[in-house]
């Protein structure tokens, strides 16, 4: 039995549930829009072993019966607050319930898309870039600074820059131009991330276990997610990756502890492949609908299979960027 935890109105959750139904695989939807109201769990750890069940309004699922779990948390706007409580009490209890669910999923002995720790690297893009580079992918020259002079020097070194947020807070990627140069002194209030502009085609790679789905995106937009909003054309098509790039994509997803990831690449006119970011909770619907790539099917099959041979690191010794002080120099 597959456990899907997400929002009914979320397109990714909706598509995945539809695909699981098409396949005829049994599943339960834990509706995070209403959770924890109407839901419950009774879970015991005895001698470190996990037993028990989780239940929804009209179902109960034994933990041993779960073949795979998918979770996609919702923002506050998608949640129904707990009734009859002050906002502070409701927030505290909802956070506690979410944490209970996350810890429960982390402790399951089956594929979980994705376990809690895997997604955290995305909260610091330059930290993640260092891990990406260690996995063998080329990253764009990057400057993180609150120093206007450093930006001017970096700009002089490169043929155009883009800028974006450093943290996981969503931002639109923009070209750095004269207007930004004139406002550069404001940077002293807080740092931003600047990268050399890399020309070429965007390629989004979705990993599902050990499968890869690469989608080439052709557009004039700097941030193709907003191409149509900016009145620019956008075309997508399935594409193949060079074997070394494909292997590096698998390695980076594995290193970050992600069974499912969205990896943002760009292929330059010279045939170089740059990696910009790894999204631990990718909205793959957009790509699947444009190209017909069977991403949701692969997810459904992974979750149904219960396969644990798709390896993700279980401790720091297998995870680059973390570990003993003196091991910092050791190749990851």
């Amino acid at each position: 039995m597959i456990l899907v935890a997400g929002g009914i109105a979320d397109t990714v959750t909706e598509l995945l549930c539809s695909r699981i139904e098409d396949c005829g695989y049994p599943y339960r939807l834990l509706d995070l829009g209403h959770y924890p109201a109407g839901h419950g769990m009774d879970v015991t750890w005895t001698d470190g072993r996990l037993t028990g069940h989780i239940r929804g309004p009209d179902w109960q699922l034994e933990l041993e019966a779960i073949s795979g779990a998918f979770v996609r948390f919702l923002g506050a706007e998608g949640r129904t607050p707990l009734a009859g409580l002050s906002a502070a009490q409701a927030n505290e209890l909802q956070l506690g319930a979410d944490t209970a669910l996350m810890l429960l999923l982390d402790n399951l002995e089956c594929p979980v898309v994705n376990r809690m720790g895997g997604g955290m690297s995305n909260n610091s893009k330059p930290h993640q870039l260092l891990l990406i580079a260690r996995a063998g992918l080329i990253v764009p020259p990057t400057l993180v600074t609150n120093d206007p002079a450093a930006v001017r020097a970096f700009d002089a070194e490169h043929d155009g820059l883009i800028y974006k947020s450093i943290s996981g807070i969503r931002s639109v990627v923009r070209r750095f131009g004269q207007a930004q140069m004139e406002r550069l002194d404001l940077l002293r209030h807080g740092p931003a991330q600047f990268q050399a502009f890399v020309p070429g085609n965007n390629v989004r790679v979705h990993t599902v276990g050990d499968q890869l789905f690469a989608t080439r995106v052709r557009t004039e937009a700097v941030d193709y997610r907003y191409a149509r909003r900016d009145g620019l054309l956008l075309e997508m098509e399935p594409t193949d990756l060079p074997p070394s790039v494909a292997a590096a994509c698998q390695r980076v997803a594995r290193d970050l502890g992600l069974l499912h990831a969205g990896i943002d690449l760009k292929e330059t006119p010279n045939g170089e492949w740059y990696c910009f970011e790894v999204n631990p909770c990718p909205g793959f619907v957009y790509y699947e609908r444009h190209t017909g790539q069977p991403i949701s099917l692969a997810l459904a099959e992974l979750l149904h299979s219960g396969r644990m041979d798709v390896h993700t690191p279980r401790d720091a010794s297998e995870r680059p960027g973390q570990g003993p002080a003196r091991a910092a120099s050791a190749p990851a």
């Binding site: 750890w45 909260n123 993180v144 943290s167 003993p324 190749p331």
Partner: protein, 300 residues
């Protein structure tokens, strides 16, 4: 220079600073990490095949190339004074993200060199550590997470049958727990109307132990039985990627169990003599300098 990112009011920071300076080393505590004079300049690249992160955060006139080691005790909260709440939250997130990258890129000893998971959530409930504890060969008290009042009652009855008084209601959000006595069970049931509660088997008088690098430092000499836990404790710290971690152990019905894990140990939890041993071990780690240069070009 040996840099301590933390607060001067933190006795651990003060003790490490004193020990380092006693050795004649240059050391300093930086508490307001992102005070206005801070200049962040972190460069990654330019050639991805030969990425050499050149990290530089100029902290209060400290030349970044002079940083010989880093003892990490705080993640750099920004004073909210003068900011509107939304802007403050944004700048806080951005600067903490920058600082994590800088720490990742540092090519000197860092205690603890943590990943994003612990950077953003340094204090976690015991359940977070459970898979690693189990793999290291350590046990935990019996734990129930339940929204079912009958299950809570069953847990209570089982404990009482073994003459264990009450249970610990443990917050999954904060590092807090409350002993649930006979009068509090109705309150637990009331909470269960809204969300699951975490109930933990209580333990006897706790024993604290600090793992520093390869050293397992007990607060007072360990009994032969306690000493058998040295290997599993060392293994746990290694798997967690922690050079410094405080573990609280307590006797439960099935023997010794881990009751708490804290990657930000508090010296005050230990006797004076043990504190000294811990500080010595930490300063040893911070002075360990051989082959520290990260050469990512050699990474396959």
């Amino acid at each position: 220079m040996h840099l301590i990112l933390g607060h001067s009011s933190d006795s651990f920071c003060g003790a490490v600073l004193s020990r380092l300076t006693a050795f004649g080393l240059t050391a300093g505590i930086v508490d307001a990490i992102f005070a206005p004079a801070t200049r962040i300049d972190l460069r990654i690249g330019p050639d991805g095949k030969t990425v050499r992160p050149r990290a530089a955060i100029t902290l209060r006139n400290i030349n970044p190339s002079d940083v010989e080691s880093l003892f990490l005790r705080a993640s750099g909260a920004i004073d909210p004074a003068g900011w509107n709440p939304n802007d403050h939250a944004y700048v806080q997130a951005e600067t903490q993200a920058a600082l994590l990258a800088w720490l990742t890129a540092l090519d000197c000893p860092v205690v603890n060199r943590i990943g994003a998971d612990l950077w953003y959530r340094p204090r976690n409930p015991l359940l977070y550590w459970l898979p690693l504890l189990r793999r290291a060969g350590l046990t935990v008290p019996e734990i129930v997470v339940t929204s079912d009042p009958e299950a809570a009652e069953r847990f209570r009855r089982n404990l009482e049958a073994d003459e264990v008084p009450g249970a610990v209601c443990s917050s999954l959000v904060r590092s807090q727990g409350w002993l649930v006595g006979p009068a509090e069970w109705a309150g637990v049931a009331a909470l269960q109307n809204y969300a699951p509660v975490c109930l933990v088997e209580p333990h006897h008088t706790p024993r604290t132990v600090c793992i520093v690098g390869c050293k397992v430092i007990w607060d007072g000499a360990p009994t032969p039985l306690e000493a058998t836990l040295d290997g599993p404790l060392r293994r746990f710290a290694e798997m967690a990627g922690l050079d410094l971690v405080e573990v609280t152990l307590g006797r439960v019905r099935r023997g010794w169990a881990v009751a708490d894990v804290d990657p930000l140990p508090q010296l005050l939890h230990f006797a004076k003599r043990t504190q000294s041993q811990i500080v010595d071990a930490v300063t040893d780690l911070l002075q360990d300098t051989p082959s520290r240069t990260v050469d990512l070009a050699e990474v396959p």
